[in-house]
């Protein structure tokens, strides 16, 4: 259903290309600058990996990267498990439940700042210690919702009678899950996990509120925030480049696994 390129079609196409320019030029500029010897955008003094070297030598950033990895991986594993089970439970029930849908949709739209203060208030009321573990627990909240949504779209195309077929052929509930259900939905589960991983790696506000005091539970986005807020150092471009490329890779893989991840 392609249009013959009339004047209107040409205008539309030009507009679309401009939108891509608008979306990618700022990111592109960051990436290019990360290789600038001089570090700042004032002058190009030649290509260099100097700032990546500086980044590798910076212990604070290494610590933050490690923290981020711990938070992202733990919260992804927990959220993927719980979100997948939820999606299976909801789809198998086959009875629409508006309250349940709203509850599972809520974490995606509640403003980060509100969820952040709510969790902080809750943790401090019950005198729960703050640190990486509280960040993990908080990240699981929104990650469950995203994993649930991704796996659920996968299940829409899932023929539930294969579960009955497996039982009919003599398998028990556990064997059926391990040998039939999980392999069939696995691309969706993995896609959801990759999405959860990037969201957790990138999340700033909630982590910032529930991290507690002290540098021991600083994550990368918190580091990036303070670098932006309190004096831009050239290393930030290198760091931003690495983080962005990580996200793009994970998202690309996620989309490859399950066509509907980012587009639903």
């Amino acid at each position: 259903m392609a249009d013959a390129p009339g004047a209107g079609g040409l205008f539309l196409r030009a507009h679309l290309y401009l939108v891509y320019v608008f979306l990618y030029v700022p990111i592109g500029v960051l990436i290019v600058l990360s290789f600038n010897e001089a570090g700042l955008p004032t002058a190009w003094t030649g290509a260099s990996l100097k700032w990546y070297g500086a980044l590798a030598a910076n212990e604070t950033i290494q610590r933050a990267a490690l923290n981020t990895a711990i938070v992202a991986i733990s919260s992804t594993i927990i959220a993927t498990t719980l979100g997948t089970l939820l999606a299976l439970g909801v789809e198998m029930r086959q009875k629409p439940n508006a309250a349940l849908d709203a509850l599972l949709f809520a974490p995606m739209i509640i403003p980060d700042i509100v969820l952040a203060i709510a969790l902080l208030a809750f943790f401090s009321l019950i005198k729960f210690s703050l640190g990486l573990h509280s960040i993990v627990m908080s990240h699981v909240v929104f990650n469950i919702a995203f994993v649930f949504a991704v796996v659920r779209t996968r299940l829409r195309h899932f023929d539930f009678s294969v579960i009955e077929a497996s039982v009919d052929l003599g398998a028990g509930a556990f064997t059926t899950f391990r040998r039939v259900t999980l392999p069939a939905i696995f691309p969706g589960v993995l896609a959801g996990a990759l999405l959860a991983l990037t969201l957790s790696v990138d999340e700033f506000i909630i982590a910032f509120f529930v991290a507690g005091a002290g540098p021991s539970s600083q994550t990368l986005p918190m580091q990036i925030y303070s670098m932006i807020r309190f004096g831009v150092t050239p290393e930030i471009n290198a760091l931003a480049t690495i983080v962005i490329l990580f996200s793009f890779t994970a998202l690309f893989l996620s989309q490859r696994l399950n066509r509907e991840v980012l587009t639903s």
């Binding site: 023929d159 009678s161 294969v162 009955e164 077929a165 497996s166 039982v167 009919d168 052929l169 003599g170 398998a171 028990g172 064997t175 040998r179 039939v180 392999p183 069939a184 696995f186």
Partner: protein
């Protein structure tokens, strides 16, 4: 089959309701050893629910199901020696054909060698050897259907349950698969219970069939019995095409308006009762001169002619029926008579072909 075979599966007064809906009402049936049995009915008649109760995926609300004389209701579906071939086939898309077929035997923890031998065997029987290492997505519709069949058959079930096994195939393939299923059943010697909404399929394949409507069993019998001697109007209409004339019973027939149509009145219908006299279109003939005394004769006018290639169907308006009656004429007769719309003719049929039933 001269001697009555033993009963394998007995369904006793089984009912099933889902909340407010009663899907199956007090159905009793026995299915015999090595029989090809069809459960036939329009969609929503409860035939699939009945099948799922046999497989163990639904529990009867009332009644019991006996396999070889033993109540199987406490046995979960994965322990029942019955296997189900699903309407969607429900193939495991992440496994190869071989993986799908061997799955059920792996669940029985059989030795590897035996599994392999039995899989190879059934691949041969179902002509799937070439496709053994392919995934379901790479198969044709007919191949997928055979994988589903092989996967269930390899378990050597006491009874194989098939839910609309041919519904997903196109018309040509469906017709050849009807005979193929029948051949396979003979070869493996397993009792088959097939659910279908397609009356032609049931007639061609089944040794015996049960007709269901709104969860109620309407008639059980061989295809010949059910087709030639329908118990009631529903069965008569659902299977094949039937012409009806409504009237009331008199001695030796039914009086329709002023005309008495001859036929045997079944003993349960007394005199003067509202009844219909029915006759199949292929039993009607165009009058050609004199006719024997035990024949019915009606004059009418052709309103429409439908050409089927194999034969021709005439719609004929008669003075005693609101509805035009259908007459099936062979191609030869059609050539001879050169029918045209508006033409007047007489229709005759032998009283032995009249069926009288309560209306």
């Amino acid at each position: 089959m001269t001697r009555e075979a033993a009963t394998v599966l007995e369904i006793r007064n089984v009912s099933k309701s889902f909340e407010a809906v009663q899907a199956v009402r007090d159905v009793s049936l026995s299915i015999r050893e090595n029989e090809f049995f069809a459960l036939l009915g329009p969609s929503g008649c409860g035939k699939t629910t009945l099948l799922r109760m046999l497989a163990g995926f639904e529990k009867p609300s009332r009644g019991e199901i006996l396999l070889d004389g033993k109540d199987i209701s406490p046995i979960p579906p994965n322990r029942r020696p019955l296997n189900l071939m699903f309407q969607s086939y429900a193939l495991f898309s992440h496994m190869t054909v071989r993986g799908n077929i061997s799955y059920g035997l792996e669940m029985e923890n059989l030795p590897k060698g035996e599994i392999q031998a039995r899989v190879n065997d059934i691949l041969e029987t179902t002509r799937l050897t070439e496709a053994a290492n392919r995934r379901p997505a790479q198969l044709s519709g007919g191949q997928r259907q055979r994988v589903a069949l092989a996967r269930a058959l390899i378990k050597r079930p006491r009874v194989l349950l098939l839910d609309e096994p041919l519904a997903a195939l196109d018309k040509k393939l469906r017709e050849s698969m009807q005979l193929e299923l029948k051949r396979l059943q003979n070869e493996v010697g397993v009792t088959f219970v097939v659910v279908t909404h397609d009356q032609e399929e049931a007639l061609v394949m089944a040794d015996r069939m049960a007709v269901l409507k709104d969860g109620v069993l309407m008639q059980v019998g061989s295809p010949h019995q059910v087709y030639e001697h329908p118990n009631n109007k529903f069965v008569a209409q659902f299977i094949g095409v039937m012409n009806f004339f409504d009237g009331e019973t008199v001695d030796g027939g039914v009086k329709v308006k002023d005309e008495v149509l001859l036929g045997a009145v079944p003993p349960e219908l007394g005199r003067g009762q509202a009844a219909a006299i029915a006759v199949r279109p292929e039993r009607l003939e165009i009058a050609n001169g004199a006719m024997p005394a035990d024949h019915n004769r009606l004059s009418g006018q052709v309103v429409e002619i439908a050409y089927h290639g194999l034969d021709v169907t005439l719609s004929v308006r008669t003075p005693i029926s609101e509805q035009a009656i259908l007459v099936r004429v062979s191609a030869n007769a059609s050539d001879r008579f050169k029918f045209a719309a508006g033409q007047n003719l007489d229709i005759v049929w032998s009283a032995t072909h009249s069926r009288i039933m309560a209306s």
